[in-house]
Symmetry: C2
Subunit: 209 residues, 2 copies
C-alpha cells in the first residue's frame, strides 16, 4: 500500500490511543499527587481535558485506568496466539507448554518499563480494591488463555486446566521475584516445575523406596 493512501481506521485508532494515553497520564499524576481514593473520575476527565462520557467510553471505572496495561495484554493474547501456527494440544502438558510462550511474553510486556511496573505494584499494595481487581484481571487472562487453546481445537476440560496452571506459574513467579526484572525468569522456572510435577514425585519415591 503506498504511503499516500489514507487509512481512516488506523488514524482513528491512533487518535483513540492518544486520548486513552492522555487519560492514563492524567490519572497517574492525580493518583500520585492526591492518592487513589481522593481522586474522582470527574477529576481525571478534567485533567485529561475530556468529558466524563468520553472517560467511560475508554474505561469501565476509576480502577480500570490502573489496569490499562493488563487490558492491553488481554487484547494482545488473541493476536499473539493467532500468529503461532500450533496444532491441537493432545495432553494437559502440551496445553501448558503451548501457553508458556504467551505467558512469558505477557511477563516481558508487564515489566518492560520497570519503573512503571514498580509504581503499579506499589499502588496495588496500598489499596485492597486494586488488589482485588488485579486478582480478577489475572482470572480474566486465564480465561482468555483457555479460549486460545479451545480455538486451536483443544477440549475445554484440558484448556481450562492448562490455563489455570499457567496462571499459577505466573502468580508463583510474582511472589518469588525479588525484583521486577526477575519476573520472566521466575515464571519460566515455575513452568518447568509444573511440567515436572509427576516426575519429581516418581523420582523421589524411586530413590527412597
Amino acid at each position: 500500500m503506498p504511503p499516500s493512501t489514507p487509512v481512516p481506521a488506523s488514524l482513528m485508532e491512533r487518535k483513540r490511543r492518544l486520548v486513552q494515553q492522555r487519560i492514563i497520564k492524567a490519572a497517574d499524576e492525580l493518583f500520585a499527587a492526591e492518592g487513589f481514593d481522593s481522586v474522582s473520575v470527574s477529576d481525571i476527565a478534567a485533567r485529561a481535558d475530556v468529558g466524563r462520557t468520553t472517560f467511560f467510553r475508554y474505561f469501565g471505572d476509576k480502577a480500570e485506568v490502573v489496569f490499562a496495561k493488563e487490558q492491553e495484554m488481554l487484547d494482545a493474547i488473541a493476536a499473539f496466539a493467532a500468529q503461532a501456527s500450533v496444532g491441537i494440544a493432545q495432553t494437559a502438558s502440551e496445553a501448558v507448554e503451548q501457553l508458556r510462550p504467551i505467558v512469558l511474553l505477557l511477563c516481558a510486556q508487564a515489566t518492560a518499563d520497570l519503573q512503571a511496573y514498580a509504581h503499579h505494584c506499589q499502588l496495588l499494595e496500598q489499596h485492597l480494591e486494586l488488589r482485588a481487581r488485579d486478582a480478577l484481571k489475572m482470572q480474566q487472562i486465564a480465561d482468555k488463555l483457555s479460549e486460545v487453546l479451545i480455538g486451536r481445537g483443544t477440549d475445554e476440560t484440558t484448556a481450562v486446566f492448562a490455563a489455570q496452571i499457567a496462571l499459577a506459574c505466573y502468580q508463583t513467579a510474582k511472589r518469588r521475584a525479588n525484583t521486577a526484572g526477575a519476573l520472566t525468569d521466575k515464571t519460566r522456572a515455575a513452568f518447568e516445575q509444573a511440567l515436572a510435577l509427576g516426575h519429581r514425585m516418581t523420582s523421589t519415591r524411586e530413590s527412597t523406596e
Copy 2:
C-alpha cells in the same frame, strides 16, 4: 473438665458468632430484596440491630459480609493443618499432595449448603466488585496454604508454588463443575491431573517419538 465449670471465653465467642450471624442474615435479606448496590452498611447495621461501629468490628466493608464463609475457611485452614501430623514435603509434588485434603475439605465446606452456595455464586455473577473480591480471597487462601507448608518446614519456594497449583485445581473445578455438588469431585480430579502433568508429557512423547 466438669460441665458445670464456666467457660467465659467460649461464651464470648458464642455471643460473637451470634452477632456475626445476625449481621450476615440482615445483609443477605437486604441484598436479596434491594440489590447489593442499593444497600449501605448503615442499612445492614440497622436491620441487624447493631451500630455501625459493631458492624466494622466484624467486617472490613460491605463486600466482606458476602465472603464471611471464605473468611471462616481462611481461619479454619491453620486449625485443620495443625491437626494433621505431616512431615516436611520434600518435593513440589509432595507439597501439592499435602494441600489436597485441605482444599477438598474447603470445597466440601463451601458447598455444604447447596442453596446458599448457589445464591453466593449468583450474587458474584451480578457484581464485578464481588467477583474481584472473590478472586482476591482465593489468593489469600493460597497464601494461607503456603504458610501451612512453610510451618511444616517446607521451603518457601516450593510452598508458594504448591499453593498456587492447589488454587489452580480449585479454580479449574469451579469452571468445570456444572453443579455445586460436583465441586469437590472435580477438584479431586484436577489434583490428579496436576500430579500427573510430567507423566503425561513423557508417555505421549514416548509413544509418538
